[in-house]
């Protein structure tokens, strides 16, 4: 199938990973090799086979709607890269034109 560097860069963008030129060079043939190997799944699975997404036949699990102990705000924020006014501080989320 031969993934091009541009295609790998596009995958990186979808996955939110900013890849360097050297990484693109290095990863493209490796990803290609892996994809070629995994494509073997198309050899066996015919249309009449049901897909399995999970080993257990579970339906959704609910708990009773009761107030329980949970993390305090301090605990929830304790691992944050940046905190301001008791909240997660994040970079700007709107584009330049905003």
């Amino acid at each position: 199938m031969a993934l091009s560097r541009e295609e790998v860069a596009a995958l990186g963008r979808l996955a939110r990973i900013e890849l360097s030129t050297e990484e693109l060079e290095h990863l493209a043939p490796q990803l290609d090799q892996i994809l070629e190997h995994v494509a073997r799944v198309s050899e066996v699975a015919a249309a009449d086979i049901q897909p399995t997404s999970h080993p257990l036949p579970l339906s959704n699990v609910f708990r009773s709607d009761e107030v329980r102990e949970c993390l305090s705000a301090e605990e929830a924020l304790s691992g944050a890269p940046a905190v301001e006014d008791g909240r997660f501080r994040v970079p700007r989320i709107l584009g330049e034109s905003a």
Binding site: V8, L11, G12, R13, L14, A15, R16, I17, E18, L19, S20, E23, H26, L27, Q30, L31, Q33, I34, L35, H37, V38, A39, R40, V41, S42, E43, V44, A45, A46, I49, Q50, P51, T52, S53, H54, P55, L56, L58, N60, V61, R63, L71, E75, A76, S78, G79, A80, P81, A82, F88, V90, P91, R92, I93, L94, G95
Partner: protein, 508 residues
């Protein structure tokens, strides 16, 4: 209390069951046992690098609390006071959880995993957190951002992965018990290459709450130990229903300890998986495997060859399903709520910061798998890749179901080769993936499986593991086979396999 006391070195060679009995009988104190293991870690871990974090002070405090409870006459659990090494993918409040990644360097979780909580409730002493491939992606621990772990049998070789820190800590006598997690073989393959015991419980048998997810439909925590009974005792502590994990099975824990004590395989029907032999399998691995199967036959088991043709497609299916689930699970590492953040200069947007952080924080294998998953789930490719892989998963489950109409358990070598040299496969993803060839089908089907040591390969003197796979919720059968092998083989070797491991050089 140091390694120089007469009881010190012996304590680190004991089984967990013996240690617990002697602690409960007040022959030795839990503090003494913990200190002996901390001393051992200080002496050998500079060379082995099994631990990312040693939690000495808290471990000693936990041990002292057990000693107090025992001396006040309180009845304690069967593993109370025994030290344990915890894989760094499970949260333990107050200690960093890094998952072997730079992304989570120094992250201290604000809560305990259910497994961690059950360990502490059982009076088990947590020595620290063990090294692993980054986010559990790998078979050698070489993908750890903090450097690889070395196999105590030969420091130039891999200890398996992703749970190589846990397996190495056992083989280096740094801990008698460890916790691993198994998504495609991360408990069993490290056990095989270090001559230790590792069990992947039935999916849903142990809780995933507080386990940093790799692939949610495959991940399962499990016990690691040097003996079959120790693994069973630990299994019983951590297993059982947990309402905090929506995939937890609300059923009694299979009688694993009873099975480990029995070891009776007479009349048991054991199927040898035909597809897991031949090309790519080391001669010494095949030889020890055949000998172990012959031993089981001598002990009264009925051996049959079983064909599971779809198993040859397990690896390609797994390397679509796992990356797909992983790319979704790892999307949470977005630099907003925890972990690393780079490039936040006040100008860059959240999306730019996110992409720069993920570039800086993830290693090569994590990036490869996220991108494969992204590709497999993207529109236009979904049906051909992820959809087809899910169908293969059905075929593999069908093969298992058919096999279990004929046999009680299946067996195979755990891994095709013994431990390879560090560096040998680190930049060759497909060669690395082949290590999990035999272990992957069990994860895809969600049944129970384990690896037990069956000797050293004659060609290189390195440990070989035998894998047992049992139907869902028949975890006890694993221990029955493991205990039978352990008894017969220990007799024939004149002692446990690990008694023949080379002495590690001790740091001063």
């Amino acid at each position: 209390m140091s390694a120089s006391t007469s009881s010190g070195p012996d304590l680190t060679r004991s089984t967990a069951a013996d240690l617990a009995a002697r602690i409960a009988a007040q022959e030795i104190s839990a503090v003494e046992v913990t200190q002996a293991h901390l001393d051992r870690i200080a002496a050998v871990d500079p060379a082995v690098h099994a631990f990312l974090h040693v939690d000495g002070e808290r471990a000693l405090a936990q041990a002292a609390a057990i000693d107090t409870r025992i001396s006040s006459g309180e009845q304690v659990g069967p593993l109370a006071g025994v030290p344990l090494a915890l894989k760094d993918v499970l949260t333990y409040s107050g200690a960093p959880t890094t998952c072997g990644s730079k992304f989570l360097e120094g992250w201290v979780p604000p809560y305990d995993a259910t497994v961690t909580k059950r360990l502490l409730d059982a009076g088990i002493v947590i020595l620290g957190k063990t090294n692993m491939d980054e986010f559990a992606m790998g078979s050698s621990t070489e993908n750890s951002a903090y450097g690889p772990t070395h196999n105590p049998w030969d420091l130039d070789r891999i200890p398996g992965g992703s749970g190589g820190g846990s397996s190495a800590s056992l083989a280096a006598f740094e801990a008698p018990l460890a916790i691993g997690t198994d998504t495609g073989g991360s408990i069993r393959q490290p056990a095989a290459v270090t001559g230790t015991v590792g069990v992947k419980p039935t999916y849903g048998g142990t809780s995933r709450y507080g386990l940093v997810a790799l692939a949610s439909s495959l991940d399962q925590p499990g016990p690691c130990a040097r003996t079959v009974l120790d693994a069973a005792l630990l299994h019983e502590v951590i297993a059982g229903y947990d309402p905090a994990d929506s995939t937890s099975i609300d059923a009694p824990v299979p009688p694993v300890v009873e099975a480990a004590r029995s070891g009776d395989v007479s009349g048991m029907r054991i199927g040898v998986v035909k597809e897991f032999s031949g090309e790519g399998y080391a001669p010494g691995v095949e030889q020890r495997f055949r000998e172990a199967v012959a031993t089981l036959e001598k002990l009264g088991a009925e051996i049959v060859e079983v064909s599971c043709p779809s198993f040859t497609y397990a690896m390609p299916a797994y390397y679509l399903i796992l990356p797909s689930e992983a790319s979704s699970n790892l999307a949470k590492f977005d630099s907003m709520r925890y972990g690393l953040r780079v490039g936040d200069n006040g100008v860059a947007s959240a999306e730019e910061v996110m992409a720069a952080t993920r570039e800086a924080g993830f290693g090569a294998e994590v990036k490869r798998r996220i991108m494969i998953g992204t590709y497999a789930l993207s529109s236009g490719y979904y049906d051909a890749y992820y959809g087809q892989a899910q169908k293969v998963r059905t075929l593999i489950i069908n093969d298992f179901n058919k096999a279990y109409e004929q046999v009680d358990v299946l067996v195979s070598p755990t891994t095709p080769t013994t431990a390879f040299k560090l560096g040998e496969k680190v930049d060759d993803p497909l060669a690395m993936y082949l290590n999990d060839l035999c272990t992957i089908p069990s994860n895809l089907a969600g049944n129970a499986s384990a690896s037990f040591p069956v000797g050293l390969a004659p060609e290189d003197g390195l440990p070989v593991g035998l894998q047992v796979i049992a139907p869902p919720l028949a975890d006890d059968r694993l221990y029955r086979v493991g205990a039978a092998l352990e008894r017969a083989l220990t007799d024939s070797w004149g002692g446990p396999l690990l008694s023949g491991i080379p002495e590690l050089e001790v740091a001063r």
